[in-house]
Amino acid sequence: MKEQKYWSPYVAGVGLGLTLLLAFVLMGRGLGASGAMMRFEVWFMGLFAADHIAANPYFSKYAINPLSNWLVFEVIGVMVGGFISGAMAGRLKFAVGKGPRISNKGRLALAFLGGSIMGFGARLARGCTSGLALTGGATLAVGGWAFMFAVFAGAYATAWFVRRQWI
């Protein structure tokens, strides 16, 4: 099967907005991503170092049944939906999306580094682009909008330094 073109970002954006609206209507909760990762990490760390989780004021808030949470199930749904839409568009294969000049290893290492910084920042800000900017922004929360502008400012300020990895 031939690989199909990606959706127009404008159509996908409207779709994402409707998904967010549906999440509010059906589940009473907005979308999020990094919270699920954090809960997964708390659960995983709890398997080996339950004492550390209990002693840490941040982790201990989530220590009881960390995986029993809407975000965790939502992220499972995201994976299933992503798989199905990828299969329908004929895009189901192992590949590393990268610029022409960077090696696979280099791309993965940078992605891991960037993801770690992003995850750390998301917990400092109490939310990520989906949990805070999208969901918070939809409720017109000031923090959500301030965060969104900060994200764009930060991205414009630092993109110049890493642009060679993509072009």
Partner: protein, 317 residues
């Protein structure tokens, strides 16, 4: 002397308010019992339909996994017994009204037949196989002549084995969530479905994978139908049954059951298998693994939820 008068089974330790009798052993055994029943059922059926050259994985290879898998299940079953050395007492009597007796005898018969069935296929699968002893060789040559008989008995026994894993629970009427006759057919269909999925994991033949995938899709459809009727039956029953259903409809088992069993274990593989039939490229192992995992989680949830459903009070959060 301190005398305790027990006037009800509920006064025993670990029975009320929540039954703490069964851990991981029973659900694992129920899963493996259903899985092996499914493998044997399809192996025998497709053999009788003369597909032995096409459906190699399903008819010849998969049954070789049955004795070890069933043995693991039986070890788990033994571990659950309080008096392990007395298991043989089940074989001193036949009680038609007891599912435990049905299960013990069915297992006692199907286990050796499944070993013989697998043995008759050894030389087909491994052409250089040598049985070492002439007497074994002769016996297996004799058995090969009786394959049709073995196949018919396997079909009947596999159906009983698959069905009994559910009846075992539903016969225990002290727990409202188990007290439904749908559990028997539900576990049978789920077992057949996991059996078909197991073959899909190994099959290298396009035609075989397609046929097992079609069979699996029908079984998943039936399973979803049975699950809907399970809850319709509970909701139309007495208030303890309604409360048992509420464990899954807003209660503590809601998310795990609907996401992992119905969503990821049934609906998702069904969608993916439909997509595959329509020619979209999907790794064939994926729906198979999802069905197997969903079947395992179903057994765990049904056993766990049944123990926490009860007659007198609503479930605890």
């Amino acid at each position: 002397m301190n005398e305790t008068t027990i006037t009800s089974g509920r006064m025993n330790l670990g029975v009320d308010p929540v039954l703490h009798a069964w851990g991981w052993e029973i659900p694992l055994y129920l899963f493996l019992g259903g899985l092996t029943a499914g493998i044997l059922f399809f192996s025998a059926i497709f053999y009788l339909r003369g597909k032995e050259d096409v459906f190699r994985a399903g008819i010849k290879v998969a049954p070789m996994w049955v004795p070890p898998l069933l043995a693991i299940g039986l070890v788990a079953l033994m571990l659950d017994l309080s008096h392990k050395l007395y298991f043989w007492k089940l074989y001193t009597t036949i009680r038609w009204e007891s599912p435990m007796s049905w299960g013990a005898w069915t297992l006692g018969i199907i286990f050796p037949i499944s070993m013989a069935w697998a043995a008759t296929w050894m030389k087909d699968v491994f052409p250089n196989w040598d049985w070492k002893f002439p007497i074994v060789e002769k016996t297996i040559e004799l058995l090969i002549k009786y394959r049709r008989w073995m196949a018919w008995s396997l079909i009947v026994l596999a159906a009983i084995l698959g069905m009994y894993t559910g009846i075992l629970l539903s016969a225990f009427n002290a727990r409202p969530f188990w007290n439904t006759s749908i559990l028997g057919p539900l576990f049978l269909v789920s077992g057949l479905s996991t059996g078909a999925a197991f073959v899909m994991l190994f099959s290298k033949n396009e035609q075989e994978r397609k046929r097992y995938s079609q069979v699996d899709m029908v079984l998943i459809g039936v399973e979803i139908f049975l699950i809907i009727h399970l809850f319709m039956g509970f909701l139309a029953s007495t208030s303890v049954h309604i409360q048992a259903a509420e464990l899954f409809l807003g209660g503590p088992y809601t998310a795990v059951f609907w996401v992992f069993v119905v969503g990821l274990g049934l609906a998702f593989p069904l969608i993916v298998e439909i997509m595959e039939l329509k020619g979209i490229h999907i790794p064939a192992k994926l729906p198979a693994i999802m069905v197997l995992t969903g079947g395992l989680i179903l057994r765990f949830i049904v056993v766990d939820a049944g123990q926490s459903s009860r007659w007198l009070y609503k479930f605890m959060e």
